[in-house]
């Protein structure tokens, strides 16, 4: 399966944790409207060897996929303007996108997580993004994308 990035200039540091057997890196799309979160997520994920792209709401994520880009992992914030996480997730699944989509909620409420999962997520985590969460997602990605 080929994965293509949208337009982006990202600096990536290598990490042996983040390489498939073929030596390719995982690509991640961060979908979040807050500039502080965007900055932190980008550096954090780059440190773990991801190729990272960032957009500000669900519609931009859907538009990227429509333009032909795709990613191994999508980190989807729940609450965003224009198009929120659950709606963007439903749209992507409707387009038969099979990327791993992980929701990021700001409250640890079962009802919220369940509703978001029902939109088509593979997993749902509570913010903030931590090294432990990234490590666990990498583990899941290695299993999903074992060639």
């Amino acid at each position: 399966m080929a994965f293509r990035m949208g337009n982006s200039s990202t600096k990536c540091s290598g990490s042996s944790k983040n390489c498939l057997a073929t030596g390719n890196k995982f690509s991640v799309l961060v979908v979040d409207d807050d500039p502080v979160v965007q900055r932190i997520h980008r550096v954090f994920l780059n440190r773990f060897g991801f190729e990272t792209q960032v957009v500000g709401n669900g519609k931009e994520a859907v538009d990227l996929y429509c333009s032909g880009a795709s990613f191994h992992l999508v980190l989807m914030d729940m609450e965003m303007p224009v198009m929120d996480g659950p709606e963007a997730t439903r749209e992507l699944r409707g387009m038969e996108v099979s990327s791993m989509i992980v929701g990021m909620t700001s409250r640890d409420r079962d009802s919220e997580k369940q509703a978001f999962m029902a939109a088509g997520l593979d997993d749902c985590r509570v913010k903030p993004l931590t090294a432990d969460i990234i490590t666990s997602l990498l583990h899941q990605l290695n299993i999903k994308y074992q060639y």
Binding site: S13, I40, F44, P81, P128
Partner: protein, 152 residues
């Protein structure tokens, strides 16, 4: 004790107190670990982004709560963003006030929201001043030819 050791001691004591008093949590430590030669000013950049973002959000919140008919969904959206950014940099006390604020929005409690906004402004200005002091101490250590102690 020479100047550098004195400053380093001050830095360690001050940082410890910030964690102890709940101003910062482990997320701040995680950010510091991300700073390296390829991102030498990362923490300062992110914190200054946070200051800008926060000041906008506090203004937006004040405006939203002053409307004739308060749109609680809009207020909640601003608080949500503030909660996200404060939790991402480890500003624990700010994050906690945001959590309480969201509950007040859900309850459409105007007086509660107004009081909470005051609390939020206070907690934000406290953490801002603490972080500015922290960066000043770092600069002083570096200017005196020392290295900044790692708290990780």
């Amino acid at each position: 004790m020479d100047v550098v050791s004195q400053l380093q001691r001050q830095f360690v004591d001050f940082t410890t107190s910030l964690y102890h008093e709940g101003f910062l949590d482990d997320q701040f430590t995680q950010l510091q670990k991300l700073q390296d030669e390829s991102n030498p000013e990362f923490v300062a950049e992110v914190v200054s982004l946070f200051f800008e973002d926060s000041e906008n959000l506090l203004n937006n919140l004040a405006n939203a709560l002053q409307q004739q008919i308060v749109d609680y969904k809009q207020v909640d959206a601003h608080v949500h963003q503030f909660k996200g950014s404060s939790s991402s940099i480890g500003a624990q006390r700010v994050k906690n006030v945001c959590a309480a604020f969201r509950n007040l929005c859900e309850g459409k409690n105007l007086d509660g929201c107004i009081r909470c906004l005051q609390q939020l402004k206070l907690e934000y200005s406290l953490v801002k001043s603490k972080l500015e002091t922290l960066f000043r101490l770092e600069q002083q250590i570096l200017a005196a030819g020392g290295t900044v102690p790692s708290m990780a």
